[in-house]
């Protein structure tokens, strides 16, 4: 069945008609052309299609679009101001924590959720938190360093006035 839904994506309301069977991944990529969200395994095992749902990382390939209404959806396009890199992205660049980078958007969003939840994570907490994101070029050691660097950058960043 088709129905009209409104999704809040990157702080913007998007109203569209979707089929009940359409996944959030299909809507984000095929309809809204948010290309940072990538399909890889299609079964929620690899983290390439990670988006934030109310700040928590989820696999967009497993979530139906119709079940995503009323939630704040963030893709990598919505991180930062669109001009300057977010401190997490800066850290990935400085630590060379990317190679083919197909997995990178998912990793960056998972790290965002991690640091929001655990501002000062241990190595083990980082590994555990990121175990749902796979990287086949094997940048794990570099990604670990990037998380620590991002944590430093964020903790040094001036607090924005509310």
């Amino acid at each position: 069945m088709k129905r009209e839904i409104t999704l809040n994506i990157n702080d913007r309301d998007e109203t569209l008609v979707v089929d009940d069977a359409e996944t959030l991944l299909e809507v984000l990529r095929d309809r809204l052309k948010l290309w940072s969200v990538r399909e890889s395994c299609g079964v929620g095992a690899c983290g390439s299609c990670t988006v934030l749902l109310d700040g928590r990382p989820v696999s967009a390939c497993l979530l139906l679009a119709v079940r995503s209404t009323g939630r704040d959806i963030t893709t990598l396009e919505g991180l930062g101001d669109g001009q300057l890199l977010h401190p997490i992205q800066e850290a990935f660049v400085s630590e060379r924590a990317l190679q083919c980078a197909y997995c990178t958007p998912g990793f960056v969003l998972s790290v965002k959720a991690l640091l929001d939840e655990i501002p000062n994570p241990s190595d083990d907490e980082i590994r555990e938190y990121l175990s749902g994101n796979l990287c086949r070029c094997a940048g794990y050691a570099d990604i670990l360093r990037a998380v620590h660097l991002a944590r430093e950058k964020i903790s040094r960043a001036p607090v924005k006035p509310e």
């Binding site: 890889s40 690899c46 660049v93 190679q99 197909y102 990178t104 070029c137 094997a138």
Partner: protein, 692 residues
């Protein structure tokens, strides 16, 4: 090729740590991938695959599928075989792989029927309406069974492809599953075994594994306004794809344009032709853009690395290895793919990087009814290292020798002959063994208990052949404002080639990395390159871009030398200027040189160069080589800077060691590989070694 006399100290860009030039598009998710490209009216492909490992196709009924709304075409292999001027089979070594199965299927997963429809779901729905009747045939799944004379044959005959110079010697064959046999005979093995103190005989087997690039294979094909074939594809070998499509469809090469944007990992899985022939035939029939993207499950049914059985017999006399006899059986699956090249180049390294006077190698590339096997991180070399250096450990243990010392003694020295007769150059194996031993505190106690886990130590040494003959062409275009464009068919797939090639050109022309743009592979403009694989790009393409840049620099120097009345040899390029060595304030900017030469600033200065190292003249029957240059082995002595350091790639290589054990695919009944990612455990955070 001119030798380079500069020391690292003289280099201003190469060797420096720079940010990856592809970092920004990649870290923002804006990097262009084939899957982001859409064309108006684009069709999507779904493929019906064989449930049987070996079967004759008796009947295909596709009428209902064709009648489904939204379906543009339902295609079978029999129809492709009837298309005039089209070769229904392709492949880099043998033309044995059908675009869609013709008459019979050769593995469970073999593509049988393709549908192109308005969207993927419609295409998948249509597949449900296709009926296929099969007559099952006896199948063979074990490489040692497949070489027996009473084994079922996967193919009745073997048709060489003649696409690569190094595979020109593969022969047509029939009535055998062995499609390629590499032999090497050095010294008198039988005599050495007869005179040995001890003989060690072991068999090692290494299973297939899938590459699992995070981006599954994807190809988009359309005909442009000139009806030229345009192909966007996630490939490691754009030049080869063009050649293959030209040969398969009889289309002139200048009417085929292959472009490769950033690709999401390859590791060998994306070499040669994969989805391109089927996407092409569907685009030719429908005259519409066609996107063919594999699902993760299909990825497992498309290509794996070779499962290998290696039998090794080693003679030891007076504590030294005196002879080694290796029989290597490469399970290349239903289609040879690049198996013969692997059987050759990795087969001849199967005695190891050691001084062994008597060597006998038989390396067989063997068809079975399994998923086709191809290159994967090391081109087959990890499988043979696993075999010979496991045995080296067994021998050392039996002799009571220290595994490090036992390897150091026979490890080849610079300039010594390898088993093939090739002299090894730039060969740092002894140093590598020593440094590796030091890095893991070899002399300290070996086993460490950490909770429920035990950590041991081990060491292995390996040697990898380089791909020869091997060719890279490049064009460097210098703009009047002191920026440059570099045309190269090397594919940036994560290894950092874009940054490395940029550094090399910047160094040669005295520019900064940011002033050099590497144009992504586009066969309309970027010259031929053999493949992006085998650790060859920095050397081959690196030299091609360096030589092309040197030609541009020579043209600049000619102008400056005339203007300033100095010898061209006294000039150097630095900071966007060409100036007099030792008097760097005397010189001209690139803009000034362009004005002097052309009287205009809108011009460009371009040069092409081809890097084609002298190939070893090797007799494929004996493995004996007459010349060594370019045929030897190298250790990278000049890293191009930590920013694009080989360390990243080394992390990946370490992970692939785990493939000996960790990611073995299970073959269930009918030899179909159990597939989706969730059924197996991939390497995750915490599975990887921490030190390098």
């Amino acid at each position: 090729m001119a030798t380079r006399d500069k020391d690292m100290a003289d280099l201003s860009v190469v060797g420096q740590s720079v940010y990856r030039t592809d970092a920004n598009p990649k870290v923002t998710g804006r990097a262009l991938h084939v899957g982001n490209i859409e064309m108006p009216g684009m069709l999507h492909v779904a493929v019906l695959r064989s449930p049987y490992a070996h079967a004759r196709i008796k009947r295909i009924d596709k009428a209902k599928a064709e009648a489904l709304s939204g379906v543009a075409v339902v295609l079978t292999g029999a129809e492709i075989a009837k298309m005039p001027g089209v070769d229904a089979h392709f492949g880099p070594a043998f033309r044995d792989q059908p675009i869609l199965a013709v008459e019979k299927v050769c593995y469970a997963g073999d593509p049988v029927v393709a549908v192109a429809a308005v969207d993927r779901r419609t295409a998948e729905d249509a597949l449900q309406l296709v009926e296929v009747d099969y007559e099952q045939l006896p199948a063979v799944f074990d490489v040692l069974e497949a070489v027996k004379s009473d084994s079922p044959f996967v193919h009745e005959q073997h048709r060489p492809a003649k696409a690569f110079a190094d595979l020109a010697h593969v022969k047509a064959g029939r009535q055998s599953n062995i499609c390629y046999h590499f032999k090497l005979r050095t010294g008198d093995v039988d005599k050495a075994f007869a005179e040995a103190d001890r003989v060690f005989e072991d068999t090692f087997s290494s299973p297939p594994a899938q590459h699992v690039p995070m981006e599954p294979h994807v190809t988009l094909v359309y005909l442009d306004e000139h009806a030229r074939l345009n192909v966007w594809t996630s490939s490691q070998s754009p030049s080869y794809v063009r050649t293959e499509l030209s040969a398969t469809f009889g289309i002139p090469m200048n009417r085929i344009r292959v472009r490769v944007p950033y690709i999401g990992g390859g590791y060998g899985a994306k070499l040669y032709a994969k989805l391109e022939p089927l996407a092409t035939v569907l685009a030719l029939i429908t005259r519409k853009p066609v996107r063919y993207a594999l699902t993760r499950e299909e990825e497992f049914l498309t290509i794996t690395k070779h499962g290998v059985v290696t039998k090794i017999k080693t003679a030891v006399k007076n504590g030294a290895i005196t002879a080694r006899k290796c029989e290597v059986y490469w399970d290349t699956g239903a289609y040879a793919e690049i198996g013969p090249r692997i059987g050759h180049k990795s087969g001849y390294t199967s005695a190891g990087p050691y001084r062994i006077p008597n060597v006998w190698i038989d390396s067989y590339c063997v068809y079975t009814n399994r998923v086709p096997a191809g290159a994967f991180r090391g081109f087959g070399v990890p499988q043979v290292i696993w075999a010979y250096d496991s045995q080296t450990d067994l021998i050392a243990r039996a002799l009571g020798a220290d595994p490090v010392e036992f390897r150091l003694k026979p490890a080849l020295e610079e300039g010594e002959p390898f088993a093939t007769g090739t002299l090894v150059h730039s060969f740092g194996i002894k140093e590598a063994i020593r440094q590796a031993a030091q890095a893991i505190d070899w002399t300290k106690p070996r086993a460490v208990q950490a909770g429920t886990k035990r950590r041991g130590k081990g060491i292995a040494a390996g040697v990898k052949a380089v791909l020869t003959p091997s060719i890279s062409g490049a064009i460097v275009i210098l703009n009047a404002d002191g920026t440059a464009n570099v045309l190269s068919s090397t594919v940036e797939m994560g290894q950092g080639s874009e940054t490395t090639l940029g550094q090399i050109v910047a160094e040669e022309l005295g520019l900064s990395v940011g002033q050099v743009h590497i144009v992504q592979p586009d066969t309309d403009v970027t010259p031929y390159d053999t493949i992006t694989a085998g650790s060859r790009s920095t050397y081959h393409m690196g030299n091609a871009v360096r030589m092309a840049a040197a030609k541009v620099k020579a043209a600049l120097c000619e102008v400056v030398a005339a203007k300033l009345e100095v010898a061209p040899d006294d000039l150097l390029a630095r900071n966007g200027r060409v100036c007099v060595r030792g008097m760097e304030e005397r010189g001209m900017t690139i803009g000034e040189i362009f004005l002097a030469k052309f009287g205009s600033l809108g011009t460009t200065l371009a040069a092409e160069a081809v890097c084609q190292p002298t190939a070893a003249h090797m007799d494929p029957e004996t493995g004996q080589s007459e010349a060594s240059r370019g045929g030897g082995m190298s250790t990278d002595r000049r890293p191009h800077g930590p920013g694009n350091r080989p360390v990243g790639k080394m992390h990946g290589v370490l992970v692939s060691f785990g493939h000996r054990r960790g990611s073995r695919g299970r073959y269930r009944n009918r030899a179909r590989r159990s597939s989706a990612t969730h059924q197996r455990r991939r390497h995750r955070h915490g599975d990887q070694s921490e030190t390098l």
